[in-house]
């Protein structure tokens, strides 16, 4: 069974500083990896995903994540955060296959950007 570990439950960071949110997964097979973001009082929305190909994937608002198969990691980074990035971030994994209906989520990391 697959599982996802987000090592930090809360990450405070000053505005314009860089940030890394860590995600490790356990799976014996190839996986698809996702980062979702939940802004206050909203549902989740997709930030970016890795399916295949280039191991570095980017979002439209400056986040990027790198798939590292040897370390089974998919860490999320941003070189300079804004106040509007304050949110909870969830890493998720699914396994390829015809019956792969489910996403397995990590417990989330709350990013607080301090002015």
């Amino acid at each position: 069974a697959q599982s996802v570990t987000q090592l930090d439950s809360q990450v405070p960071v000053f505005e314009e500083a860089p940030v890394e949110l860590r995600c490790n997964y356990s799976s014996s097979v190839s996986v698809y990896l996702f980062w979702y973001v939940q802004y206050p009082n909203q549902g989740l929305q997709l930030l970016l995903k890795y399916l295949s190909g280039s191991t570095l994937v980017e979002s439209i608002n400056g986040f990027e994540a790198e798939f590292n198969k040897s370390q089974t990691s998919f860490h999320l980074r941003k070189p300079s955060v804004h106040i509007s990035d304050t949110a909870e971030y969830f890493c998720a994994v699914s396994e390829p296959g015809a019956g792969s209906y489910q996403l397995t989520f990590g417990k989330g990391t709350k990013l607080s950007v301090i002015p």
Binding site: Q6, S9, Y32, F34, Y36, N41, Q42, G43, L44, Q45, L46, K49, L51, F90, S94, E95, P96, G97, A98, S100, Y101, Q102, L103, F105, G106, K107, G108
Partner: protein, 115 residues
């Protein structure tokens, strides 16, 4: 844009009441999901439906049932609400591509309090 709506943002019920949470999506998606979100536990899958009248248990189905009579609507039912079902409930839908590469789209959530 895909839109997933949930019938209530906030709901207060008494122990023992039967509770219905409704979810509607407007993009003809095959798959629909119900999650509950609790602080420190992330998202946990309650039930999902891969087609009309088809359902599968998720990780925590006890105390819940679901109904999907029409493609666009997926209902979560608490037969006899209990205080430990106080939580945020999130509905999601996705196209349903084989292999699980497609994005899940989430509703805004229903915060249920059981007194």
């Amino acid at each position: 844009d895909v839109k997933v709506t949930q019938s209530s943002r906030y709901l207060v019920k008494r122990t023992g009441e039967k509770v219905f949470l409704e979810c509607v999506q407007d993009m003809d998606h095959e798959n629909m999901f119900w999650y509950r979100q609790d602080p420190g536990l992330g998202l946990r899958l309650i039930y999902f439906s891969y087609d009309v009248k088809m359902k599968e248990k998720g990780d925590i189905p006890e105390g819940y049932s679901v109904s999907r009579e029409k493609k666009e609507r997926f209902s979560l039912i608490l037969e006899s609400a209990s205080t430990n079902q106080t939580s945020m409930y999130l509905c999601a839908s996705r196209v349903g591509l084989a292999g699980g590469t497609d994005t899940q789209y989430f509703g805004p959530g229903t915060r249920l309090t059981v007194l």
